[in-house]
Symmetry: C2
Subunit: 375 residues, 2 copies
């Protein structure tokens, strides 16, 4: 029997699962939000992932349902499970990815290092937190945020008046201390339903405007203590939250040498795109193997250094393809990955991976190749 | 504009172009011989590649037509060109791939080293060749052979009586001296219509029963003189025959240290499957870049050694997928590629690539992983 994976969501993460699926002989099917999306080649259905009947019909005959994103509502997830469909990551795990307040509470229970945080429901609560934490803090809407959306730095409750005012009866916002960090890291873990897991080397990520701009793998100057701590955190969260498939843990490295958990993603993640060309097993292949409960692949590096640079926005009028010849000509070792998305300001439309022995050279090549696609 | 490539033929070579096409943002469409073939995911048409109207209809709107095999008839190829379709490799190049007598004659004109050969049309001619070349020779049907089919070792004209008897009025067979070789090598070249070309390192191939069983890249003990000669031969043939896209030149290394051209393939080739996991640019990505006249990719090795082992035949009753968990469990660094084909004795249904620093270890891993899929 051919293995069948159903992916809910037709974005670039689903798209990038197609290549390893074809090679491994896994039949991937995608439930796309609309026609012509990134993963359109594998789209067997177009429909609303918030509608249980739509998702149940899509899930018929697949071995497992997995996701391009974490936004499928709990009632749909639980409806799938009730109908006997294997769902990975499952509703219990995704519950924590979907609600940052629940996530913070659970990480506290697990003893994970985190920024100081609180749930606040009014201006008084927020002001009290600000007073206790140096007068500035990060306010987040617990649900629906991504790529910097739903995140705001405030220095007074008035700065979040609109969000506070829009809260439902028992609604709450998450407020976190503004961490004094030197850089951001990301730890990826893959975990099978039957329990085995593998870790990737911790990477350094560079964010711009709340969006991942670059990743360097492995994170420079992290071998040993930092890498071990990051791996332990990743493993503990994967197990503690019951994550199956790929987990990414975004971390702050603080100025006093601690690692604090920032965000989680229970799917392939931008910080792991380098694995396509820099690891024996890409995160997209690994996710498929993990959700199918197949043995996991080797996460060893293919080269001492890998750098991923996102292509953000892209040219306003020309399509990406028009820039491709010049980029490939100048950088024959750069691996250009595009998402089949119409460019618009700030949108992730592709990325470039370069792997090699010299970090400076690898960084230069990846940035220079990606620059051909800049606005 | 999205780049569009139309591939005639739905076999595993077309299938393996899907992954790099998706990543580079190239829209591939496949004209498959029948439904459910290896490249079925990208099949936009099912029809007979020997029918010009079928192929012309398929070719509408694509930037270039290329091929999964070399069997498209000349009248169809020339009809495409006459209709203004870009075809790579073109009819003139494929002419030599389709007729081994023409190929031998052209390689002589180019001064390429070859086995002694002749065109024979009757028993007397074949016996004369045998007498002049030690009493044994290889007889080949000039057209339609592959994977050892249409090739026979003879020691008397009577051994080829059936083929001789079936010859048309002016028909001829190709007869070649039986080369005393120590091993077989393969040289791959990619060439753009605008003229640029890149070479891959020469590899050693191991044939069993006329079918490629393994490839080792780069060929051991070939660095320097042998590799340079192989590269020169590959380049000269690509230019001399006007090949566009990937070219594979199968070579004999003789016991007296010469390289002689055995066969040619104007497409991605079994001897280059290792590039998927062992080269910066896989032969499948390279073929797409070349036929689109895009700048070619870096052919540098990702690891000191790569070994590819074919999965031949496969289990008679179980599907390949049933063997996958045990193989992946035992060999987490092995890259298993499957073709979505029903197994039958001797049929190529997949391959395993392993790359690494130690050749013995890499060979062991690749063979051991492939053995999980043996009959």
């Amino acid at each position: 029997m051919t293995l069948q994976v159903g992916i809910v969501g037709g974005g670039q993460l689903a798209r990038m699962m197609i290549a390893p699926a074809v090679e491994l002989g896994i039949d991937v099917r995608v439930l796309a939000e609309q026609p012509g999306m990134s993963a359109g080649l594998a789209a067997t259905a177009v429909g609303d992932y918030r509608d249980l009947e739509t998702v149940l019909a899509f899930a018929r005959d697949v071995d497992v349902i997995t996701f391009d994103h974490e936004h499928v509502p709990q009632d749909v997830l639980q409806g799938l499970v009730a109908a006997g469909v294997a769902v990975h990551p499952g509703p219990e795990a995704l519950f924590f990815a979907q609600d940052k307040l629940r996530m913070r509470a659970r990480l506290d229970e697990l003893g994970m290092p985190q920024p100081a945080w609180a749930a606040v429901s009014d201006a008084a609560g927020l002001d009290a937190f600000l007073e206790a934490h140096g007068g500035r803090a990060v306010v987040k809407t617990p649900r629906g945020g991504y790529d910097g959306k739903g995140v705001r730095v405030v220095s007074a409750a008035a700065d979040a008046a609109d969000w506070l005012g829009a809260l439902a009866e028992d609604g709450e916002l998450l407020v976190e201390e503004l961490v004094d960090f030197t850089r951001e890291l990301a730890q990826q873990v893959a975990r099978r339903p039957s329990g085995d897991s593998v870790i990737y080397p911790v990477v350094e990520t560079v964010q711009r405007d709340g969006v991942c701009a670059e990743a360097i793998a492995p994170a420079p100057h992290a071998a040993g203590r930092l890498a071990d701590i990051a791996a332990d955190i990743g493993e503990a969260i994967a197990v503690g939250l019951g994550v199956t498939g790929m987990l990414a843990v975004e971390l702050f490295e603080t100025t006093d040498g601690r690692l604090l958990v920032n965000e989680l993603a229970m799917r392939p993640h931008n910080s792991g795109h380098w694995t396509q060309d820099g690891s024996i097993t890409s995160q997209f292949e690994q996710h498929l193997r993990a959700v199918l409960d197949l043995p996991l692949g080797d996460t060893a590096l293919r080269a001492p250094w890998s750098v991923m640079v996102n292509i953000l926005g892209g040219p306003a009028t020309d399509a990406l393809a028009d820039r491709l010849p010049a980029a490939l000509d100048a950088h024959p070792a750069a691996k250009v990955h595009t998402y089949g998305k119409d460019p618009r300001p700030g949108r992730k439309v592709g990325h470039v991976n370069v792997a090699g022995a010299d970090l400076d050279e690898v960084c230069y090549e990846a940035r220079a190749a990606a620059a051909f696609f800049a606005d």
